[in-house]
């Protein structure tokens, strides 16, 4: 393969990886605190894209700016979903989470389809034709902004979790739920907050994905969410650095595979990778033996 094309493919992978990282980080944050997996996480990505779409239609602002209006909306949505659907089943068996997520997938997809129909939509980016050239590498400005925004969001999350009182409480809950409770932390509130943040990150991913020129309809959420979950498994459940490294690798591998094997394999290759890893390490690459 020509080295120029190789770099180009890696760059596309980097951009795709950013979307996956945002999703996987959210999933991991939720898993860390609540020990549950929300398979309907992708529906928040889809919803985020639609909320931004509406904001753009209403205000005409730059969609990248509106990202910061969409995320709070989804954070609130996430908190409501956690309170109504996931709290009642906490600790009742892991299969139940999967089943509740199934119900949520149906509800979200079709509420959105009812409101906005299932036509394909697009959010036009203001920089659609702008590319930055670096040698033989052609970089659409949108992709660069997305990579930059992802880094910014993740840095913000890092500072929040490391430096603020609330962030420390979330980390404490994630490390030892009972211990945190004994220290006077309201762990149920931490559940709600971390679920909300995870949802907000998914909304960010959805907005960035849509703005980068991807068309969307109410049914696009499932596959990215499943891939994000595969990344979480690869990177280790509950490990945010694992999610970031896993997400980048994943985006690159996926784009390489699409390039060499053909587009039909785009979705399947991720599972091939996942299954190969799980055959040798049933708890994931960086997962603990005891899980």
């Amino acid at each position: 393969m020509d080295i120029g094309i190789l770099i180009q493919v890696v760059f596309w992978g980097l951009y795709a990886g950013c979307i996956y990282i945002l999703l996987a980080t959210g999933l991991n944050l939720i898993f860390g605190v609540m020990k549950i997996v929300n398979f309907a996480h992708g529906e928040f990505l889809m919803l985020g894209a639609y909320i931004t779409f509406i904001f753009v239609a209403l205000t005409g602002f730059n969609p990248y700016v509106l990202l910061f209006a969409t995320m709070p909306v989804l954070i609130v949505t996430g908190i409501i979903v956690e309170r109504l659907c996931f709290r009642p089943i906490l600790g009742t068996g892991k299969l139940n989470e999967i089943f509740v997520s199934l119900g949520l997938i149906y509800i979200f997809q079709n509420v959105v389809a009812l409101i906005w129909t299932d036509e394909w939509r697009i959010i036009p980016s203001p920089f659609v034709d702008v590319t930055v050239s670096l040698g033989s590498l052609e970089m659409p400005l949108d992709y660069l902004i997305i990579i930059f925004l992802t880094i910014a969001i993740l840095s913000g999350l890092y500072v929040f979790l490391r430096k603020t009182h609330l962030g420390k409480a979330i980390r404490a809950t994630s490390q030892n739920r009972k211990g945190a409770m004994l220290m006077g932390i309201n762990v149920e509130r931490m559940d709600m907050i971390s679920f909300g943040i995870g949802t907000g990150l998914a909304a960010g991913a959805g907005t960035l994905w849509a703005v980068s020129g991807q068309v969307f309809n109410p049914y696009i959420g499932s596959i990215p969410a499943i891939k994000a979950f595969a990344i979480v498994i690869l990177g280790g459940l509950g490990s945010i650095p694992g999610a970031i490294i896993g997400g980048l690798l994943y985006g690159i591998v996926e784009n390489m595979a699409t390039f060499t094997l053909g587009g039909a394999w785009k979705d399947a290759i991720s599972f091939v990778l996942l299954i190969i890893v799980l055959i040798f390490r049933p708890t994931g690459l960086f997962g603990e033996e005891g899980e």
């Binding site: 089943f99 949520l104 149906y106």
Partner: protein, 323 residues
């Protein structure tokens, strides 16, 4: 023993359901549409029961459409190549599905909950991809191909005959599952589900029994898939779709996980609701209603609709100990 059995309310229910299944298609309301609905209901009862069999061993699958679809593809290809009747090839097709199930099971037995859900989901997508890309010369890719019908449509009352033949296959499948669960295999599966470590200490090999459950489940799901495509007379890779993986899950949860009656009750209730809502013109709303129903049942009725009957039937001695 038998006299006792026939007096219990459970036996009355089973006999009643069986009688209803035989008489219903003969009633004047049973036009072609109703017959088709009933046939699909039977097929999905088989499919949901197959999925439910897996939960006895504490496993779950979000990709059972893989086996449903493989049964369909294998059976139809055999039928086309050999010219045999679909009534023979469905069992051969299901055997192929079970073989793949065994291979998939080998990678799955060591995995738990989320990992298992992901991997089974993934296998359905991988198999679909293989069918539309590498095997497209044989399978026609996304377009699919026509397959022989169960009973040729120029035979008078062909749908009625089809209904009764599928009815018998459904009864046989349920009976087979019942016998498996009554035998020592069923006990071993329950032991593994409740506590795998203790089961191992008691001398049960979890891997062997989980594989057995996986293979049996894949076989029965394969039969259901083959019946469906021979009923429609056409097959496309849509058969591996996410929705077809989710249906048996929804049916089994609604009816009640880990009971023989659960998937049967669940399939009947949910598919009647589904078709009723469709007839009322609620295309998207019906998904929302099903989704809300699913979540409500998981939260408030974790043992499904069947547990309602048990709750009220307890005084008559029909109740069972809750898990």
């Amino acid at each position: 023993m038998t006299a006792m059995f026939w007096r219990s309310p459970k036996a009355c229910l089973i006999a009643g359901a069986g009688a209803a299944g035989i008489v219903l298609p003969l009633l004047p309301v049973a036009n072609l549409y109703v017959l088709t609905v009933l046939i699909l209901m039977l097929i999905f009862i088989i499919y949901a029961s197959a999925w439910n069999l897996l939960t006895y061993s504490g496993q779950g699958s979000l990709g059972h459409a893989a086996f449903f679809g493989l049964g369909g593809y294998a059976s139809s290809l055999i039928a086309i190549q050999s010219g045999l009747s679909p009534y023979i090839t469905i069992f051969a097709g299901a055997a192929f599905s079970a073989f793949i199930g065994l291979l998939i099971g080998l990678t799955c037995v060591r995995l738990r909950e989320w990992f298992l859900a992901m991997v089974t989901f993934g296998f359905a997508i991988i198999i679909q991809t293989v069918i539309v890309s590498m095997l497209s010369p044989v399978t026609g890719g996304w377009d699919g191909y026509a397959v022989p019908k169960l009973i040729a449509s120029d035979i008078p009352y062909h749908l009625l005959w089809e209904y009764y033949s599928i009815f018998i296959i459904a009864i046989l499948s349920l009976l087979a599952i019942h016998l498996i669960l009554k035998s020592h295999i069923g006990l071993a599966l329950a032991a593994i589900r409740e506590n795998e470590l203790e089961a191992r200490a008691a001398g049960i090999d979890p891997v062997r029994f989980k594989l057995l459950a996986f293979t049996a489940s894949a076989y029965i799901a394969g039969i259901a898939g083959a019946l469906e495509i021979h009923h429609f007379g056409y097959i496309t890779p849509e058969i591996f779709g996410v929705e077809l993986s989710f249906w048996p899950v929804i049916y089994s949860i609604t009816g009640g996980l880990g009971t023989l009656a659960g998937p049967v009750v669940g399939t009947i209730v949910v598919s009647l609701l589904w078709d009723g809502l469709n007839a009322a013109g609620l295309t998207y709303e019906r998904y929302i209603i099903i989704g809300v129903l699913l979540i409500l049942i998981i939260i408030y009725l974790p043992r499904g609709l069947v547990s309602l009957a048990e709750r009220y039937g307890k005084t008559e001695g029909g109740g069972r100990n809750p898990r």
